[in-house]
């Protein structure tokens, strides 16, 4: 029955509906943008009413929130965190720094375009984006999940070699401990 195309479609719709309304966020506070996360989560903007809530560890999270610039040093940790997350998983790039380097465009030790290293599903622009923008980013992600278009994780798996090559280019001593996905 599960192989039947139509029933699979129905299951997908239901599952995507649940995924859309229950987004557990791992806010990786890499850059200054992380300061906008507390107001988004607390009384004023209350993201929990949309089903968005914080997760404590990568194992439990659905969304990896990259809040701002990523230095080469943190990049390694971020990759590891991303690969420890369980499918289906999404990445939100937060702030101009993740899009094109932002005000750190000429810095020697931050990455410029996050999309080359991790598959980003939704970008939120602004330096830094206000909570309204963050919420609209989540709404965008919800829309993409519902439509079944938030498949960054699949992209990452399919193009793993390309991503790995890019990652290894900026991380010279690539020593990752063993872990299973």
């Amino acid at each position: 029955m599960m192989n039947d195309k139509n029933s699979q479609k129905i299951v997908d719709i239901i599952q995507n509906w649940a995924r859309k309304h229950s987004i557990w966020v791992l806010a990786y506070g890499t850059g200054c943008g992380a300061i906008e996360i507390p107001p988004t989560m607390t009384s004023r903007y209350d993201a929990e009413r949309l089903g968005v809530r914080g997760a404590a560890t990568p194992r439990q999270a659905d969304v990896l929130l990259i809040t701002g610039y990523l230095t080469v040093k943190t990049m390694k940790r971020v990759i590891r965190v991303y690969e420890q997350m369980q499918d289906p998983k999404y990445v939100i790039g937060f702030g101009s720094c993740t899009i094109n380097g932002g005000m750190y465009y000429d810095s020697y030790n931050t990455i410029k375009v996050l999309d080359k290293y991790l598959p980003v599903d939704v970008y939120i622009n602004g330096c830094m984006p206000r909570p309204e923008a963050v919420l609209s980013g989540f709404a965008q992600l919800q829309k993409r999940i519902a439509e079944g278009r938030a498949n960054g994780a699949q992209q990452y798996k399919d193009n793993l070699e390309w991503y790995r090559a890019n990652q290894k280019k900026i991380i010279p001593n690539w020593i990752m401990p063993d872990y299973n996905w």
Binding site: A18, D46, E48, R49, G51, R59, Q60, N180
Partner: protein, 303 residues
């Protein structure tokens, strides 16, 4: 044969009711917390959505056999507790396996799940899990003392070690044990704070400090099992309290009112208090709650 089939069917019904009620209570507690913090909060059925999503996530984690068994242990212990606690008095849909001495048995069963979980968490090798487990076991040592004192007081006072015996005693005398053994009730309710692990006793899974402690390496389906077992366990514990101290319930509505009233105590206390440190929590349990437990024993022996 008919009877056995009925019992199995009844057990399934009991489980489903416990699951739904426990999940809803969890969602309501999130809603209440949100309202206290002046937020709108998630809908009360948010926990069902979360559970469904967790169940539909893929899990590709392997840390060893015990890690897979941890959540299963929790589930087994919750279901065993649920099966022993009489849910409704005289109702064919809610059978229970009570016997003489089930109150003592229950004391063991209720600690069995966390211990299995502790083994599972230990095997993940995550330091946060290890710290969470030591904290959880210390807290258990803390609240078990007033809890056991309260139960022993009841056993001495009414010369029975079975839950149905205590319920019969209440039905016979017409007063709830809450009023005839007030000290035991107070001690048991204070112990309940530790059992439910709401703030200030959420030292086990402190999310910002320990990254959720013992469950930090568990995602997806593991969390789903834990969440459902937690819901079932919540319902079983609340029902046990209602049976012991509030005379049980004849129908589901009365049961829901009584259990929810009890459930509000740890929830509301939790939203207004910050987290204790481990030794503060243990000291708290060995202070007034244990004192009330001792008073309850004195009352049982001398009056």
């Amino acid at each position: 044969m008919e009877v056995v089939l009925m019992d199995i069917l009844g057990a399934v019904v009991t489980f489903l009711v416990a699951f739904v009620v426990g999940m809803t209570y969890g969602g309501l507690s999130r809603k209440i917390t949100a309202r206290v913090q002046n937020r709108k909060g998630p809908p009360f059925y948010q926990n069902f959505i979360d559970a469904f999503k967790l169940g539909s996530k893929k899990s590709a984690i392997h840390h060893g056999v015990m890690h897979h068994f941890g959540p299963a242990f929790l589930m087994v212990s919750s279901v065993m507790t649920l099966m022993i606690v009489p849910v409704l008095t005289h109702n064919q849909w809610f059978p229970n396996l009570n016997f003489q001495g089930d109150l003592i048995f229950l004391l063991y069963v209720m600690t069995f799940g966390p211990l299995g979980m502790a083994l599972g968490a230990g095997q993940t090798g995550n330091p946060n899990s290890a710290i969470g487990v030591t904290r959880g076991l210390s807290q258990m040592v803390g609240f078990e003392i007033p809890w056991v004192l309260a139960l022993v007081a009841l056993m001495i006072q009414y010369h029975t070690t079975s839950i149905t015996g205590l319920m019969a005693a209440q039905a016979h005398s017409g007063t709830w044990l809450m009023f005839s053994s007030p000290f035991a009730f107070v001690a048991a309710v204070m112990a309940m704070f530790g059992m439910f692990r709401y703030s200030p006793f959420d030292i086990v899974g402190a999310p910002t400090e320990l990254a959720s402690g013992p469950i930090s390496e568990n995602g997806g389906k593991y969390l789903f099992v834990m969440m459902s077992s937690g819901s079932v366990f919540t319902f079983a514990k609340l029902t046990l309290y209602v049976d012991l101290f509030m005379g049980g319930a004849d129908n589901l509505l009365i049961l829901l009112i009584k259990t929810f009233a009890l459930y509000l105590i740890p929830v509301l206390y939790g939203v207004t208090t910050p987290r204790y440190r481990t030794e503060q929590a243990v000291r708290w349990f060995w202070g007034w709650p244990s004192f009330f437990g001792l008073l309850a024993i004195l009352q049982a022996v001398f009056f």
